[in-house]
């Protein structure tokens, strides 16, 4: 079951690569949040202890409700254009992503031969990290960068569950809090920048250099 959910997670990543509307990005963030909390609820079903329930519930609230709503609010407040401005052909981006994902899946399969990882969640987690970074690299708009960081964080969270050894709760909560603060700060930064520059994208950040 975990494997099926991980594959679904990977499919959302691929959809993210080809889409060009900000609204879809936010929707996919929601879907990923739900998928992640579903994946993380399996240990609870096995053991039925309360503290295993904390992480799924918190991540469901934060990832599927609060953060998407916050991003939506920024988009509406600042009246940014509702499409992303790619700096790479969408098809090329798709090819690159599929290629790196296949490399990751193959190497995860190889690695599972002599380590105790579960290959499919492991590879999907890594794909999320890589594609999050790709999104940051290839997209200009600052708000999309926030989404890229969130996807990177989703990957890290999934990575924790893909290892058979449990990640300590406090670490996961810390990562969650971290990313929340980052998103919050970025929102403030975007707000500030938009008061100076007409269209908030990262090329404007270069002008903040000393």
């Amino acid at each position: 079951m975990e494997n099926v959910l991980s594959i679904l997670f990977c499919l959302t990543l691929l959809y993210l690569v080809v889409t060009s509307r900000i609204k879809t990005y936010v929707t996919i963030l929601r879907i990923q949040g739900v998928l992640l909390s579903l994946i993380m609820i399996f240990p609870f079903i096995e053991h039925l202890s309360v503290h295993l329930l904390i992480i799924p519930i918190v991540s469901l609230i934060v990832k599927a409700i609060i953060i998407p709503r916050f991003v939506n609010k920024i988009v509406i407040d600042l009246d940014v254009k509702r499409i992303v401005e790619p700096s790479i052909q969408p098809f090329n981006f798709l090819l690159l992503s599929v290629f790196s994902m296949s490399v990751l899946f193959v190497s995860a399969h190889v690695l599972s031969g002599f380590t105790t990882i579960e290959p499919i969640p492991f590879a999907s987690a890594f794909s999320a990290m890589i594609i999050g970074i790709f999104i940051i690299i290839f997209r200009k708009k600052l708000i999309i960068h926030v989404v890229g960081f969130l996807i990177l964080e989703n990957g890290i969270l999934l990575f924790g569950t893909s290892l058979s050894a449990e990640m300590p709760t406090i670490v996961e909560l810390g990562a969650l809090l971290d990313i929340f603060v980052v998103v919050f700060l970025m929102g403030i930064v975007i707000n500030r920048i938009s008061s100076t520059f007409a269209q908030p994208d990262v090329t404007a950040l270069g002008r903040l250099k000393d």
């Binding site: 690299i137 200009k140 990262v202």
Partner: protein, 656 residues
């Protein structure tokens, strides 16, 4: 006994705090000098007491398990503590009169006082450290605080340039030391100096670790290809700091080399031979460059390189002794090196502090603009002369004594080893004698040009304060004492050298010469010379005429013999190697026109090695400069590529 050391260190810290807190700057300076010299006296007493009776358990603070593993009181550490404190006290005493000229810049003076006291403290803790990380912390602290101390007159461009050279070079040295200590740690699994082991059986690691350790310490010590920072830093530093830099801070490099010898056992032959070669090179070329300088502090800086070379020759001899386990050679080589380290700290402090007095009176460091000082301050000139005689290695002063031990080492090893050794040792002996000759030429040059003759630039009054006389007099007294009666210091040196001597037949100093006999001869020489002087002075009337006059009556002070012409003959031998350049413009018409002479002494290491390498690196960096002008996405791409590179390397390393 630790209480002495604790009191001393806390007094130094209190002095730093008071220098900031006390409002009137004059008073702050006085309090600072008083408190710090008291603190240093405590530490000196601590070092002396422990050196005379080496503690059975070489631990500082045996009651506290953590602290006692961080610091160690073995003979080597205590001997260097002795050197540091005995060179620091005169420097502190001279601070008062030297900084008097800077009192209008109160903030800069306070900053200098704080950084100077931290330099003193960290240097002392550095030599006592037994833990590699603690050592590196104090090493960095010493380096950085000395850098801050260099910036007393930070508005001058030459000071910014020189201090940057110092900063960059010593930073590179620290980088080398990090690699050295990490490799040692990976070899022995411990951070403690007492556990470090480096054997040749570890293969490549031995060579890499030795290379980085030696380069790191040699940069600090100023061995010849690595010396280029030294003339820059010494000539721009405030004189009290440059005295301390030259007397102590570069000796931490020597301390490090001694520690390295302790870690490496057994010692292969090439280490000793290599150190001998590089040291002879430093000694000869250091003194040769010194001869070509016009700037008194730059000249003294090059003499530091020469003396580091002499110390290195002693270390190299000792290494040969360790390799073949010949006890007398170990004693003569390492003992001579340690003794010369101490002596150099003393007489170089004397000369640097003396040059500081001259600078604060005449406001120039150029030898060619001085002259006639002997008329206004004869006692000061006498003290400076004692330092000059000592550094030239002439009897009956301490410089001769340590070089005597090293010469004995040459003869000893020539007679012990057969084969080509007598020939090599003959070469070394001739080389060292040549160094002594050039040093003598150099110091006759500066003493005659600076002190004799007429004033080249008119100055109102030459004042030397009582504290200056006290600090210079103390140093001159030590020079004289250890020249005539070295027995008192040779005993502690024997106990230090015993660390490196294995086996039962530890040699003591009394084996090598009849020291009391030497003492008698030297005392007789001094007595004879001084009676001759008194007799001569009282008998003849002094004749006053223009110096270097040669019978020409209408002489001006600009017609006097100059330092450049004095040094020209000897420097002419090696002009191309030394990067000496001179421009002469002589009028060829009948009627006099303006004529010019300009000479400049470069440095082969700086002009030939460092500057090309630096500009090559800068060129390569500016060619990729466009990367830093892009936006955040490129930075993230670089990070991804870096992670991929490291990850790929790690995977290949593990599975291939």
């Amino acid at each position: 006994m630790e209480i002495l050391f604790l009191i001393g260190c806390s007094l130094i810290l209190i002095g730093a705090v008071l220098a900031v807190l006390v409002k009137p700057i004059q008073l702050a300076l006085r309090i600072y000098v008083g408190v710090l010299s008291a603190g240093l006296l405590f530490n000196l007493a601590f070092a002396l007491v422990n050196l005379v009776h080496l503690p059975a358990t070489p631990l500082l603070f045996p009651g506290f398990p953590v602290l006692s593993s961080f610091f160690r009181l073995d003979g080597l550490a205590l001997f260097f503590l002795l050197i540091i404190t005995s060179a620091a006290i005169p420097a502190i005493l001279s601070t008062l009169s030297y900084l008097n000229h800077y009192l209008h810049k109160a903030a800069a003076v306070r900053a200098f006082l704080v950084s100077f006291s931290l330099v003193l403290l960290s240097t002392q803790l550095l030599v006592l450290a037994n833990h590699a990380i603690v050592f590196l912390i104090f090493w960095e602290l010493m380096t950085l605080m000395a850098y801050l101390g260099l910036l007393l007159e930070k508005e001058k461009p030459e000071i910014q340039k020189g201090s940057f050279i110092y900063f960059a070079t010593t930073h590179f040295a620290t980088f080398c030391l990090y690699i050295f200590f990490f490799l040692l740690h990976s070899q022995s699994g411990s951070w403690l100096f007492s556990d470090f082991q480096l054997t040749q059986s570890s293969g490549m690691v031995f060579y890499v670790a030795f290379f980085f350790g030696f380069v790191g310490f040699a940069i600090k010590a100023g061995f010849m290809p690595f010396h280029f920072w030294l003339p820059h830093a010494h000539s721009i530093a405030p004189t009290v700091l440059s005295a301390f830099l030259s007397a102590v801070i570069i000796k931490t490099g020597i301390y490090g080399i001694f520690r390295m010898l302790e870690f490496c056992s057994p010692l292969p032959l090439w280490i000793g031979a290599g150190i001998l070669a590089i040291s002879l090179f430093s000694a000869i070329f250091g003194v040769w460059y010194a001869l070509a300088q016009h700037d008194i502090k730059k000249l003294l800086a090059y003499h530091s390189i020469e003396n580091i070379g002499i110390i290195g020759i002693g270390i190299g001899l000792g290494c040969l002794g360790i390799t073949y386990s010949i006890q007398p050679l170990i004693w003569l080589g390492l003992g001579g090196a340690l003794f010369h380290t101490f002596n150099h700290a003393i007489f170089k402090s004397l000369l640097f502090l003396g040059s500081g007095v001259i600078y604060s009176n005449l406001h120039t460091r150029n030898i060619e603009l001085m002259g006639g000082i002997v008329k206004s301050a004869p006692w000061f000139v006498g003290l400076f002369l004692i330092g000059s005689v000592a550094i030239s290695g002439l009897p009956p002063l301490n410089g001769f004594m340590s070089e005597f031990l090293i010469y004995r080492g040459f003869f000893e090893s020539a007679s012990i080893f057969g084969g080509y050794f007598p020939f090599f040792m003959l070469l070394m002996t001739v080389g060292l004698a040549f160094v002594g000759g050039l040093a003598l030429a150099c110091f006759t040059k500066i003493n005659s040009i600076m002190f004799l003759g007429n004033e080249r630039s008119p100055h109102l009054k030459f004042t030397v304060t009582g504290l200056d006389y006290l600090s210079l007099g103390l140093l001159a007294f030590v020079c004289l004492l250890f020249g005539i009666y070295p027995q008192i210091i040779l005993g502690p040196i024997s106990s230090v050298v015993a660390i490196f001597q294995s086996g039962e037949s530890a040699q003591t100093f009394s084996t090598f010469a009849q020291w009391n006999f030497i003492t008698g001869i030297f005392a007789a020489i001094i007595l004879l010379i001084s009676t001759l002087i008194i007799w001569k002075v009282s008998r003849t009337n002094q004749r006053k005429s223009a110096a270097w006059g040669c019978g020409y009556a209408g002489q001006t002070s600009r017609m006097q013999y100059t330092a450049s012409s004095y040094a020209d003959d000897i420097n002419g031998i090696a002009v191309s190697v030394l990067h000496l350049k001179s421009k002469v413009k002589i009028p060829e018409t009948i009627f006099p026109e303006t004529s010019r002479f300009h000479s400049h002494a470069g440095d082969f290491s700086e002009d030939g090695l460092v500057k090309p390498a630096y500009s090559w690196i800068i060129g390569k960096i500016t060619s990729v400069d466009f990367l830093s002008r892009t936006d955040i996405r490129f930075y993230i791409l670089f990070m991804l590529l870096t992670v991929l590179f490291y990850g790929g390397t790690a995977i290949l390393w593990t599975y291939l």
